[in-house]
């Protein structure tokens, strides 16, 4: 839409003006002022070019609304008000603040730094608050670990704040003698405290917690322990005790080291899903893909895996194994490289290596490939990294595996270079050993009072440990959590904890890297932080160190803790002059203090670790491999719809877990996708639907934990089956994988729901993959470019022209962008039934295709969002012009105007449009509506919706630039998916700005191609081809 040039109009008017009738003297006399007025009056139109008025140069020009337009708009708004009365829209009143809080401007968002910790992964956050409520979670760009990236779970934790089923005050369970009835009553904090203190005074107090990443919380617990002679037991369902024990045995210190995937040229992962669910996948993904940005020097990921994990899906070379082979891989590699490195191995090591001389043969991998991997590792000594871990490796050999991995890293001189002990995390000290001892004490009657904080042993702890039975011998159980979960139901007192977003705290995610955890909202209900509960009980009992009993709130404790203990330590040197107040404020603002390390002194491997080395797991014909999913993890957040409806990155299945079987195994057992099968480990059995997973080892049954919650809430209850029950206690060790498993076909079918209808690309140019060798010959390798032409010159974009590029070589498929989009754009969750009918609402989706032969299928990912085509097929077919082209190249969707013919969706070659089949907004239960982003319309029933390129962020960025009186810079506007992406795969910007990152990609990046280019919709999105760094090791040659 263009306004005509004023000159042109002027001349027309000069000729046409006739003075038979005149309306004023100015008109009659035809003064120049009058002519000018005549022009300006009609010049301004709501349809004028947007970018004319933007930027410092022309901010004042043409910005004033003419009277006529003002009247028009007034009229329109009155008409709208009346119209809205007709369609009975609910009347809502906006009441202004009587006392406007400082820093809160209605309509302007505030951002606060905070953190997220889920028991293993820690992330620095930047949380958006609108009118006092958190609405969107992003990563903190200054945090050295995640640097602005964020995981799906961290973002989705927002919804747990607004979970309608969160406990709203202290409770008491009326447990009978056998503790079978579950009647719950509300109590006052006074009564609860009185009762708790009474019990605590009886001594024999134990505190069961998950990993505590907070120094101050740890201090409170330690103080409390002193006060009541209590003991802390740390346990997590996904405890990394194999790593800590392995480190202890190999090097003498029991922390989880800090890994540098960005420094490693060759990465060998043995079932460590570091890109998906192992330790801290967000920062690992960031590191991993940063080392793949430069194709010439990109790293190589070699994966040996027993579950088709996200890491496996991103591997340059992938080998399927079963859990009992993990040790064989590492020992085999050690024996291949040992001599060449000149490592003086002792007798124990040499003896241990004897059975692995022919490891490749045992693994059924060609000797040549295996040798090449070893050579590769040798070549990159000090620049390689071998990792193993996760539930998949929790076999009877898990400690051996860790020791072997440590030895291999030490031999390869990676220790101190890619494995850094000094910046490791010594707060991940949860262990199954500790909880086993606790159970023993409980059974012996040595535990009178047990405080459980943020742990759910009655769900996630193996039944073999007999925790539930032992719990009956404990006199009083106090639970500090915010949900009536599986464990809370068996506790006497529930000291309802705040949500993480309601509480102060601090964190240390790597040694010396500290953050302050800020609350984003005042406690919504009558809840109290766990720390304050401990402090209150100590105060009431009048026991314990002074600092525990003298603070009125945990915030005061935290501040004093930082003032006295942390600040003197951290504020040394340059900050010495500053007082604590400014140190504290700086810390709150940046959210972070401390740096991650580049190197670390190399520790010496202790050969005596091999003294008792003996392979225990000899393998079985069919082995169990339990694993954690990227989205659900240990199952703590199972009640969040966003996560349940987030498709698994590899299987693309939502709302379920299942038994993954290889094609061959499924054929042997005559199982089809979705057929129920009984999975039996010893005497434990669960029924699961079959998922046929291409590329899985034929002797593995892979099952995800974290499902089958019984008391997670309405959303999470009964989704999938609880696979934790398959974990087995053997030789005093809880094992998750490598267990012998039996399968029995039940003969019933169950609907597994996937968001992707087809797994193959059918030979179309969709995801372009090339190898590094192809790339050296031709940077546009495998991209077939089409000659396109048109009779029409196309739209002209005089101001901005928004565009996006997606680097498929960086994208790992982790799906954090999907959750970011869902949170930013108020996208509804529709539930399993409707996903099955093809009604999921995601605006951005990650397509996953398998390539190569089905037995060893490789995987590629492709994020697809609205491509904002210049020749948008959707725009021409809408009968009511509800989807139109903006002057900045955006394909805009006008919800108000849409009548819902769905023609646009039919005509969209990328099928990115989503329709509101029902009135989803009506189903939002209070207080879930508080999580909605007020900047984005909540769509009513019957309208189409789709990715807007976060138009609200574009507007916000432009407004900020305008207010600051400057032109918009590249990077001012970051869309939600781009911000969340740990791999920095998404680049957004102005294509008309020649210096913007995205314009450069469009212009000169040779890997860039437009999806369905030949269809000539002229999308504003470019994909960068994926490069597999594999040709040196495979004889397959180039991959199409």
């Amino acid at each position: 839409m263009k306004t005509q040039s004023p000159d042109h109009k002027q001349t027309l008017n000069d000729h046409k003006r006739d003075h038979t009738y005149w309306k004023s003297f100015e008109d009659l006399n035809d003064t120049p002022e009058f002519k000018q007025a005549l022009q300006t009056e009609f010049m301004s139109s709501p349809l004028r070019e947007e970018s004319i008025n933007e930027g410092a140069e022309s901010a004042s020009e043409g910005d004033k609304w003419a009277r006529r337009e003002f009247l028009k708009l007034m009229g329109a708004s009155i008409a709208l008000t009346t119209a809205s009365g007709c369609i009975r829209r609910p009347v809502q009143k906006i009441v202004p603040y009587a006392m406007q809080p400082e820093e809160v401007v209605i309509g302007v968002s505030n951002w606060y730094t905070s953190t997220y910790f889920d028991g293993q992964e820690g992330l620095g956050l930047l949380i958006k608050s609108r009118e006092g409520r958190p609405v969107h979670i992003q990563g903190n760009p200054s945090h050295p670990l995640n640097k602005g990236a964020v995981s799906s779970r961290a973002q989705a934790s927002l919804l747990s704040l607004y979970d309608p089923e969160r406990l709203q005050g202290p409770k008491r369970n009326l447990l009978n003698e056998k503790r079978t009835n579950k009647e719950t009553v509300s109590v006052s904090w006074e009564d609860l405290d009185k009762k708790a203190v009474e019990e605590l005074k009886k001594a024999s107090v134990y505190i069961l917690t998950g990993n505590i990443s907070s120094p101050a919380t740890q201090a409170v617990i330690d103080d409390f322990n002193k006060a009541f002679g209590a003991q802390q037991v740390v346990w997590e369902p996904l405890a990394h005790d194999d790593i800590t024990e392995g480190q202890l045995a190999s090097y003498g210190d029991s922390n989880v080291p800090f890994y540098r995937f960005d420094k490693a040229k060759t990465i060998v992962s043995i079932d460590a899903d570091f890109l998906g669910s192992w330790l801290s996948p967000v920062s690992f993904t960031r590191q991993f893909s940063s080392a793949r940005k430069n194709i010439e020097t990109m790293n190589r990921l070699i994966s040996f895996d027993s579950t088709y994990s996200l890491t496996a899906a991103n591997a340059d070379l992938r080998f399927k194994i079963k859990p009992s082979m993990q040790l064989t891989v590492v020992m085999g590699l050690i024996s291949e490289v040992l001599v060449a490195t000149g490592y003086a191995a002792n007798e124990a090591i040499k003896t241990a290596l004897i059975p692995y001389k022919n490891a490749a043969e045992q693994l059924k991998i060609s000797q040549e490939s295996f040798k090449k991997i070893a050579d590769e590792l040798l070549k990159n000594t000090g620049e390689s990294l071998v990792v193993a871990g996760g539930l998949q490796t929790k076999t009877s050999d898990s400690l051996n595996l860790q020791i072997a991995v440590n030895l291999l890293n030490s031999i390869l001189k990676n220790e101190g270079k890619t494995v850094l002990a000094n910046k490791g995390n010594n707060r991940l000290n949860a262990s199954y050993q500790a909880v086993q001892e606790l159970v023993k004490k409980m059974n012996a009657g040595l535990v009178k009072t047990l405080i459980i904080y943020r742990a759910n042993p009655l769900y996630a702890l193996s039944k073999d440990l007999g925790f539930a039975q032992a719990l009956k011998k404990v006199q009083t159980i106090i639970y500090a959590g915010d949900k009536m979960d599986e464990t809370a139901q068996f506790c006497h007192l529930i000291a309802t904890d705040n949500h993480a977003l309601e509480t102060w705290g601090d964190t240390e995610f790597a040694s010396g890297v500290y953050s302050i955890h800020q609350p984003l909202i005042r406690t919504m209900y009558d809840t109290r932080s766990f720390q304050l509960s401990l402090m209150t009980w100590a105060y009431l009992a009048n026991q314990g160190p002074k600092r525990l009993t003298s603070h009125e709130t945990y915030y005061d404790y935290l501040r004093d803790f930082w003032k006295e203990e942390m600040a003197p330590k951290l504020a040394k040197g340059k900050d010495k002059e500053k007082d604590f107040e400014s140190f504290w404020n700086d810390l709150l603002q940046s959210g972070i203090i401390g740096e991650t390390a580049q190197t670390s002194p190399a520790r010496n491997f202790k050969p005596e670790a091999f003294a008792h080395f003996k392979k225990r797991n000899m393998g079985s014909p069919l082995e169990l491999a339990l694993y954690t999913k990227v989205q659900i993890g240990d199952g703590a957040l199972a009640n969040i719809g966003w996560l349940q409806e987030l498709p698994d990155p590899v299987t693309k299945i939502v709302w379920d877990n299942y038994a993954c079987l290889s094609i061959k195994l499924a054929t042997e057992l005559k199982l089809n996708e979705g057929d129920l099968v009984e999975v039996k480990v010893h005497d434990k059995r669960i029924n699961l639907p079959t998922h046929i997973q291409p590329g899985l080892h034929d002797e593995v049954v892979a099952v995800a934990v974290g499902y089958g919650r019984r008391a997670a809430g309405k959303v999470g209850n009964g989704v999938g089956e609880d696979a934790y029950v398959l974990a087995t206690l053997e030789n005093n060790k809880v094992l998750f994988s490598g267990l012998a498993v039996e399968l029995k076909k039940i003969g019933k079918h169950y609907d597994l729901v996937t968001t992707q209808g087809h797994d193959a690309m059918e030979g179309r140019q969709i995801v372009v993959t090339a190898t590094n060798k192809d790339y050296t010959k031709n940077k546009s390798a495998n991209i077939h470019r089409h000659h396109t032409w048109s009779l029409w010159s196309g739209h002209h974009y005089n101001g901005h022209k928004w565009g996006m590029s997606v680097d498929l070589n960086s994208c790992t498929g982790c799906s954090a962008c999907m959750t970011a989009c869902q949170s930013e754009n108020n996208i509804h969750v529709v539930g399993k039934k409707y996903v099955m009918q093809g009604r999921e609402m995601h605006w951005i989706r990650i397509d996953r295709y398998y390539t190569g032969d089905v037995e060893n299928a490789e995987t590629v990912f492709q994020p697809i969002m609205c491509q904002h085509c210049d020749n948008a097929p959707c725009e021409t077919v809408c009968p009511v012009a509800a989807t139109v082209h903006s002057s900045e190249g955006l394909n805009e969707m006008l919800y108000n105007r849409c009548v819902g013919t769905r023609y646009c969706s039919n005509n969209c070659p990328y099928k990115v449009r989503r329709f509101n089949w029902f009135n989803y907004a009506k189903l939002i239960e209070k207080p879930m509506h508080m999580s909605l982003n007020p900047e984005v319309t909540v769509r009513p029933r019957g309208v189409m919706e789709k990715c807007t390129f976060c138009v609200q962020r574009i507007k916000e960025g432009k407004n900020i630039a305008k207010t600051e009186g400057r032109a918009l810079k590249d990077g001012d506007i970051k869309v939600a998916c781009e911000t969340a992406c740990p791999a920095s795969a998404i680049t957004f910007g102005d294509l008309n700005d020649k210096n913007s990152a995205v314009a450069k990609i469009f212009k000169s990046e040779e890997r860039a191609y437009a999806l369905l280019e030949e269809w000539y919709a002229k999308p504003s999105v470019r994909y960068l081809s994926k490069i597999k760094n594999n040709d040196k090791l495979t004889s397959k040659g180039s991959h199409a």
Binding site: A76, A79, I87, Q756, G757, H758, D759, A760, M761, E762, G763, R764, I766, Y834, M836, Q837, G838, R839, E840, R845, D847, R848, Y849, I864, P873, T876, V877, C878, P879, V880, A881, R897, C898, V899, G900, T901, R902, Y903, S905, N906, N907, P909, Y910, K911, R913, R914, F915, N916, W917, F918, N919, P940, R941, G942, V943, M944, L1011, L1012, W1015, A1017
Partner: protein
């Protein structure tokens, strides 16, 4: 000329059997309107009406709850409603073809079937017309699809959208065919008025006959208007389904984006329309055996020949789509035709379509079969099934597997889809059954001039003298 061959002169088949007098004709045709309904009619009507009420209820539920009740989804954005819409619009075509095009070509045999065929058109378009309105996400805003001056800017419709052309095409077609049908009925309505036994009847038919007196001037004007309307309707026969086909052909979806669609859709529409005429005429002949003298086996045979011909045209179109898909070298289109349609998850629907539309009408090559009422009835039902499936194949199979395989899905057929499809028949038959009892189902005025066609010359006098005061269409 030069050589005298001993060939008996060509003899035309009689258009009206039974040596009727003019009065007999009037009596025969007015009988259904003037007698108490039979049990058969009542049974049909009650079931059709029940279905119709059920249909209204279903629509109410869909409008109140949302389109999600039906099987439409992502990627299959259009489903039962659009399929059934195209189906009914197609049915409508035969009526106008018979009444307008055959009129202009002076095909006298058309007279006895024209009225009911055109009624079928009007009712089919009515049935069809509901679907575009209720298939939208927010049906209460459907008026936005019409270009009218408004206070929203003014905000106009998007004239580039084929759906908008559809709005014009369907509304024009509905208007013109209704007017044409009604104008054709005026002399007969006057006859009914004259024969009326009570005042109410007399008043209503009197009003409907618009003061028809049967004067020469009346007739002169009437003939002219009828001719003009026939001329106006003729291009519409071609244009309406052409534009309906644009809904598909103008989009860029493989399987829809096809230049053959306009002629293919028109041929298909005539094909299905004639099949529906056969179905209805068979039922009418059963209901009122006297109609057998007017709607003769010869009539049925002619229509069966058209069915066979258009069936072949449709079959040719099916075949040429494969050729073009192959010739174009377009991998997406090739996938749709060579993999997805004929051998994909919906292959059954494709083969039902081929069977019903191409194979079964081949029976009409045999004269015996095309003159057999039971055979033609069964074939016509099959053709109707086949033509519904043709639209199903076009709509669903093209959408369910398009460009990016990740999108591929299935149509999630629900019980509401069944209810909508079956219910629309309830609506159509309710109206058609009422029509049979309210209006003369055969044109009295037009049948009389052709009653002598094919008769021996010597019987001319007989029929001429047999006319009493019942002139053509009243006084």
């Amino acid at each position: 000329m030069s050589t005298q061959l001993n060939i008996p002169p060509m003899k035309r088949a009689q258009l009206v059997l039974g040596n009727k007098t003019l009065k007999e004709i009037t009596d025969d045709i007015c009988a259904p309107v003037e007698s108490f309904p039979s049990k058969g009619w009542m049974a049909l009507f009650v079931s059709a009406k029940t279905l119709f009420l059920f249909y209204i209820l279903t629509i109410a539920m869909v409008v109140a709850t949302g389109m999600g009740l039906l099987g439409v989804n992502h990627p299959v954005g259009w489903g039962t409603m659009i399929i059934t819409f195209v189906f009914w619009v197609g049915i409508g075509h035969a009526g106008t073809l018979i009444s307008a095009i055959l009129f202009l070509f002076r095909q006298k045999w058309r007279t006895s079937v024209a009225r009911s065929a055109e009624a079928m058109t009007v009712f089919a378009v009515m049935t069809a017309g509901i679907f575009p309105l209720i298939h939208t996400g927010r049906p209460w805003l459907d008026f936005w699809l019409f270009p009218y001056p408004n206070q929203r800017g003014p905000l106009w419709v998007n004239f580039r959208s084929p759906l908008l052309w559809d709005v014009f095409a369907i509304s024009t077609y509905a208007t013109v065919s209704t007017v044409f049908w009604f104008v054709g009925m005026i002399p007969d309505l006057a006859t009914l008025k004259d024969r009326a036994q009570n005042k109410i009847r007399r008043t209503i038919y009197g009003a409907l006959s618009l003061g028809w007196r049967g004067t020469a001037k009346n007739w002169s004007h009437y003939e002219m208007v009828y001719l003009i309307l026939a001329g106006l309707s003729t291009p519409l026969v071609i244009s309406v389904h052409t534009i309906v086909s644009f809904d598909f052909a103008v989009s860029n979806l493989p399987g829809w984006h096809t230049t053959i669609f306009p002629p293919y859709f028109v041929a298909g529409a005539i094909f299905s329309g004639f099949a529906m005429v056969i179905t209805l005429m068979t039922l009418m002949r059963m209901g009122w055996p006297k109609f057998k003298d007017y709607i003769t086996i010869d009539h049925m045979e002619v229509m069966n020949k058209i069915i066979m011909m258009t069936g072949l045209m449709v079959g040719y179109a099916y075949g040429s789509e494969f050729l073009i898909a192959w010739y174009s070298g377009n991998i997406y289109e090739q996938y749709v035709f060579f993999v997805s349609r004929a051998f994909g998850p919906y292959a059954w629907s494709y083969w039902i379509m081929i069977c019903c539309n191409v194979v079964i009408p081949q029976l009409f090559w045999f004269k015996k079969l095309r003159r057999s009422i039971p055979v033609m009835f069964v074939v016509s039902i099959f053709v109707n099934i086949g033509m519904w499936f043709e639209r199903f194949v076009i709509t669903v199979t093209s959408l369910h597997r398009d460009f990016l395989p990740s999108n591929w899905g299935q149509y999630a057929w629900s019980m509401y889809d069944t209810a909508i499809l079956v219910g629309s028949f309830g609506m159509f038959f309710t109206i058609f059954l009422l029509y049979l009892r309210v209006f003369p189902a055969i044109s009295i005025a037009e049948i009389k001039p052709v009653m002598n066609v094919g008769k021996d010359n010597d019987s001319d006098n007989h029929s001429g003298s047999g006319s009493d005061n019942h002139n053509q269409g009243g006084h």
